[in-house]
Symmetry: C2
Subunit: 550 residues, 2 copies
C-alpha cells in the first residue's frame, strides 16, 4: 500500500495536467479527465495525441473511477484509446455522457461501458477517496469542478472555468459550495491558468448577444458565423438573436449539426420554433433573412468554411455581401491557416469580422486574473498547483500567488508524470512515473514511433532517392546500369544521372569479391549517393538502395 497521497498529471498536451490527472491514496486511484491534444505543425501525419496510459494499466486494479469534468475534446477525446486498455466506471453529467456517446458509438461497444451519471452535490465513494462535482461556468454546459476528498484534505480541480454571473443557461458557478470546501479544508487547488496573462475579469458569454444583435440587424446580406462545434451557449445566442431580428438559421458542418441535435434532445439548446431551416433551403430566403452557423474557425482544411473559402463546398457558396463573424479565438499554431482563409473570403467579396470592433463577437471560456484570484480566495487552499496552462502560465500564476502571500513551499509547478506527493507535514515533487504522449497516426493507430516521425520530417523536407542495382552475385558484377527514382526531391535529371554514373564507376572498380557482398554494395551505394548529393547539390534526401541479386 502506497503511503500518503499523490497527484500525477499524465502527459499529452503542452498544457500541464490538462488531459488526464491521477489522484491516488493507498489502494485507491481516481482519474480526472481523459482528453486529447492536437499535433503541432512539425508532427506530420499525426491526427491527435493522447496520454500514455501505461501507469494506469500497471495499476488497473486500484482504479475506482474516471471522472469527466466536461465534454471538450481536450478532456474527453482520449476515451476511445483509454477504453482499449481499461474499462472502469466513467462518471459524468448526463449531458457530458450524451456528448461522448455520440463519438464513442463510432469506435466502441457503448453498451459494455460502465457509464454512471453525476449530478452536482453527489459524493461518489471511491475506496478511501470520494469525489464531489461542483458546478462551474465554462463554454460548454454542465462543467464540473471535482473535489476529491482524501484523508489529507480536499484535492480541488477547478476544471476549465470562468466566473460568469450571467451565463446563458442561468446555471452559475456554485460559489457557496466552493466556499464551504474552504471550511472543510482544501489541501491543494489545481486551478485552470490558461488566461493568467489577461488582467481583470472575463466578459460574460452573454456579451456576445449584443454583438450579434448589432450585426444581425445592420448587415446588408447574409451572416455567417464560425465557432467551435461544441460552443452551445454561443449557438443559443445566435438562435435567439436570429428570432429577435427576423433571420433564419441554417447550419453547415456535420459535427455542428450533430451537436445541435444532441443538445436539443437534452434540453441544453432551445431552438425557437420556425427559426432553423435546412441548409439546402437557404435559396428560398433573401440574404438579409439568413444566418449560417459553420465550423472552420481554426482554418481546419476539411471544415465547411475553409472549403467555402476555396470554392469547394458543394452545399453553398460565399457571396459578395456576406458578413462573416469569427466567433472564436485562434488556437496558437492555427493563425497562419486562419489568415489564409480570411484572405480568401475577402477575395470572394465577403466582409470578415475577426476582431472585437467595440462589441465582442467572442469571449473566452477561461477565467482572467481576478477570477483566478477569487477562486484562490474563496477556497483557501493550503497548496497551489496551477494546471491547464503551459509553463509560462504556471509561472505567472505562481507570481500572483506570491503577491497574495503564499510562501514558496506551498507553491508547485507540476510536470507530466511527476507526482505531487503529500504526507501529514509537507508536499514535494516525487520521482517520475511512466507517462508521456502517444501520437495517433492519421490511419487511427496510436503509438507512432520517433523513428517514423524522423523519417517523415526528412521525407517532407528532403525527399527520397531509390537506387536499384542488379547484382550477379556469383560473377561479382553489376548486371545493368544503376537505376534511380526519386520522390519529393528537387534536382535536375542531368545532375542526378551524373552522380549515379560516378557511383556506378566506383562500384565497377571494385574487386570481384566485394561485389559478391550484397550488404556491402547496399551500404556503399547509400554512403556514396549521400556524399555526392550533399556535396554537389546540398541535398540530403533519404536514400533507399535496392540491391537485387540475380
Amino acid at each position: 500500500m502506497t503511503p500518503g497521497l499523490r497527484i500525477i498529471p499524465l502527459g499529452g498536451a503542452a498544457e500541464i495536467g490538462k488531459n488526464c490527472t491521477v489522484v491516488e491514496q493507498g489502494e485507491d486511484i481516481v482519474i480526472i479527465d481523459c482528453g486529447l491534444s492536437f499535433p503541432n505543425e512539425e508532427q506530420y501525419g499525426v491526427d491527435i495525441i493522447v496520454p500514455d496510459f501505461t501507469y494506469l494499466v500497471e495499476n488497473r486494479d486500484r482504479i475506482r473511477g474516471l471522472f469527466l469534468t466536461h465534454a471538450h475534446e481536450d478532456h474527453v477525446g482520449a476515451l476511445p484509446y483509454f477504453l482499449r486498455q481499461l474499462n472502469v466506471p466513467i462518471y459524468a453529467t448526463e449531458f457530458t455522457h450524451a456528448m461522448i456517446r455520440q463519438k464513442l458509438e463510432e469506435k466502441t461497444d457503448v453498451h459494455s461501458l460502465d457509464l454512471r451519471t453525476l449530478k452536482p452535490g453527489d459524493k461518489v465513494a471511491c475506496g478511501q477517496l470520494s469525489v464531489e462535482p461542483i458546478r462551474v461556468t465554462h463554454s460548454i454546459p454542465d462543467t464540473m469542478a471535482m473535489a476529491v476528498r482524501t484523508s489529507f484534505g480536499i484535492v480541488l480541480f477547478t476544471a476549465d472555468f470562468k466566473l460568469d454571473f450571467t451565463p446563458i443557461d442561468g446555471k452559475k458557478t456554485d460559489m457557496s459550495r466552493l466556499a464551504a470546501l474552504a471550511d472543510e479544508g482544501v489541501l491543494v487547488l489545481l486551478s485552470d491558468s490558461t488566461n493568467v496573462d489577461r488582467p481583470g475579469w472575463s466578459p460574460s458569454e452573454r456579451e456576445v448577444s449584443g454583438a450579434y444583435q448589432k450585426f444581425f440587424s445592420t448587415a446588408p446580406g447574409r451572416i455567417l458565423i464560425t465557432m467551435f462545434a461544441s460552443n452551445i451557449h454561443r449557438m443559443q445566442q445566435a438562435f435567439d438573436v436570429a428570432l429577435a431580428t427576423g433571420r433564419k438559421v441554417a447550419v453547415a458542418g456535420r459535427r455542428m449539426e450533430n451537436t445541435i441535435d444532441v443538445c436539443s434532445r437534452y434540453g441544453h439548446l432551445r431552438v425557437p420554433t420556425g427559426v432553423r431551416i435546412r441548409l439546402d433551403d437557404i435559396g428560398n430566403y433573401r440574404p438579409e433573412q439568413l444566418v449560417i452557423l459553420t465550423t472552420g474557425s481554426q482554418g481546419e482544411p476539411m471544415s465547411a468554411l475553409v472549403q467555402m473559402s476555396r470554392e469547394e463546398y458543394g452545399r453553398m457558396k460565399v457571396l459578395p455581401g456576406d458578413t462573416i463573424l469569427y466567433s472564436a479565438r485562434p488556437i496558437p499554431g492555427n493563425e497562419a491557416a486562419i489568415w489564409r482563409t480570411v484572405n480568401r473570403l475577402f477575395r470572394l467579396g465577403a466582409v470578415v469580422i475577426y476582431e472585437n470592433a467595440g462589441a465582442p463577437i467572442h469571449v473566452s471560456g477561461h477565467a482572467y486574473q481576478e477570477e483566478l484570484k477569487t477562486m484562490i480566495n474563496l477556497t483557501s487552499p493550503f497548496y497551489l498547483a496551477p494546471v491547464h496552462g503551459e509553463p509560462r502560465h504556471q509561472h505567472q500564476y505562481l507570481e500572483f500567488a506570491r503577491k497574495m502571500g503564499y510562501p514558496e513551499h506551498r507553491l508547485f509547478s507540476m510536470a507530466d508524470g511527476l507526482p505531487l506527493c503529500f504526507d501529514e507535514e509537507r508536499a514535494w515533487l516525487g520521482e517520475p512515473v511512466p507517462s508521456g504522449r502517444m501520437l495517433v497516426d492519421n490511419g487511427g493507430q496510436p503509438g507512432v514511433p520517433d523513428e517514423i516521425m524522423r523519417d517523415r520530417t526528412n521525407l517532407a523536407n528532403e525527399g527520397l532517392v531509390m537506387v536499384i542495382a542488379k547484382l550477379d552475385i556469383e560473377k561479382g558484377e553489376l548486371v545493368e546500369d544503376l537505376e534511380l527514382d526519386t520522390k519529393g526531391l528537387f534536382a535536375s535529371e542531368k545532375e542526378l544521372a551524373n552522380i549515379l554514373s560516378v557511383v556506378q564507376s566506383e562500384l565497377q572498380r571494385w574487386p570481384r569479391a566485394d561485389l559478391q557482398d550484397a550488404g556491402l554494395v547496399r551500404s556503399s551505394i547509400s554512403d556514396e549517393m549521400r556524399r555526392h548529393l550533399s556535396r554537389r547539390l546540398k541535398l540530403r534526401p533519404i536514400i533507399v538502395p535496392v540491391v537485387i541479386e540475380v
Copy 2:
C-alpha cells in the same frame, strides 16, 4: 510603345505588392524592391519564396533601374535570384547597399553589379520616368519612400513606414517634401497597410528605451534580449541603456554580429566605448552586469536563443535568474514555435517577458490608422491602392478611405500580376501579366514544381511503400515473393505482410501473357496495394512498384 502607365505588383508574399512592383510607361520600366517571403507551414522543404521575374526578363530592355526602399529581406532578399536573370542599375542608399553587399558577396560577383547610391532629394532620370527617394521612418535606417514621376502624375510608394517624431537616429520622415508632392500632383498612393487594424498612432521606437531602463536596472541577473537581427535602432537603445545602467553587452548569433559590424562601420550604430564584450568573456562578469543580444525571436530552429532553450548552444547556457525580453512581434505562423521556445526557457528557470507589461519592449515599425490617414491627407493622392498588406488589410484601408471621402472609382485593391492601368481620364485593373511565386528549395534551387510539393505533402503525412517484384518476362512468372520496404508509414509488419501476400496471390492467378507485361504488373501492384492499404488500414501512402525483369 505601350501607351499609358501601368503599375504591376509581382508575386511573392501573401502581402500584395510587398516584394516587387513594376512601374512602366512607354519604353521605360522602373522596379521598386526585390524581396523574398517565407514559406508557410505546409510548404515543406522550401527555404524562401521569390517573385517570378518572367515579366521582367521578357521586358529586360526597357528596365531603367531597380530602386530599393530599405534593407529588409522582404524588400531586398530576392536579389540573388533576380541577378541570375537580370543585371540592371540598382539604386539604394549607402547603408542599404552595405547591408545587401554582405549577403550578395556569398552568392554573386558583387563587382560586376551596377550599384548606384541614392540620397534623399536625388532625382534619378529613367527615360520618361524619374525617381525621387524621400526619407521615412521605419525599423531599419535609411528607409526611403519612392516618388516615381510619370507624365500622368506622381506614383508614390510609401515603402514600409511609420511617422516617428523621435526616431533613434534623429532622421524624421520628410513630411514637408511629401506635402510638396501633393502640390505637384500625386496620381496614386501605394501605401503600407500592414497595421491598418491598429487604432491610433504607433508608439515611437524610443519608448523601448524606457522599458529597457526598467528591466536593466531591476533585473537580478543577466538580461537576454531577442530581436530581429536587422533592428539596429533597437540595438542602439540596448547599448545606450547598458551604458547608463552599468551593464556590458555581448551578442549571440552570427547574423546579428554581422549587422552590428556593418552598421558600426557606416555610423548607423554607435557602440559606446567599453560596453561591448565578447560572448566568450561573459564568464568574467557578474550576471547583473550583463546584457546579451540574440536572434531567435521567431522560434527559428537554428537561432542562438532556440538552441539555448534546447540546451544545445555551445557558447552559453540559459540559467535560473536570467530575464529574457522578447523584443519583437510574432510573425503569423511562428506563434507555436515561439511558445514552445518560451516554455522551454521557463523550464530552465528563466523569466521570459513577452508582452508589454506597462512599458513596451517592442513597438511596431509600421504606421497605425491615424498615421496612414495622415499620409493620405499630406500627399492628397487622386487614387489609392494600399499595398504591403493582405486582402484583409486592403479591405480595411479602403474602408477608411471611403470615410475620408474617396469615391469608389478612385480606390483599388491590387493583386499580384494584375496591372493598375492609367490613361488621361481614368484608372482600371488590366489583364494579368506572367507573375507568381517561385519556391526556392532548401538545396538553394528556385522553382520547385507543384508535383514535388504534392509528393512532399503525401510523404510527410502518409509515407511511402516500395514493392519489389522480380519478374521472369519470358516465362511470365514471379521469380520470388514480392518484397516490401516502407518509409514514414506506420503499420504493423504482419498487416503489411498479409496485404502483400494477397496482392501476390492475385498476380499469381494471372494468365502467363499478362505477367509478361512489366508495365501492367507495375500498375496492378500499385493499384492493388493502394486499395488494400486504404481499405484495411486507412493508409494512403505513395506506392512505388519496382518491377525487375530477370
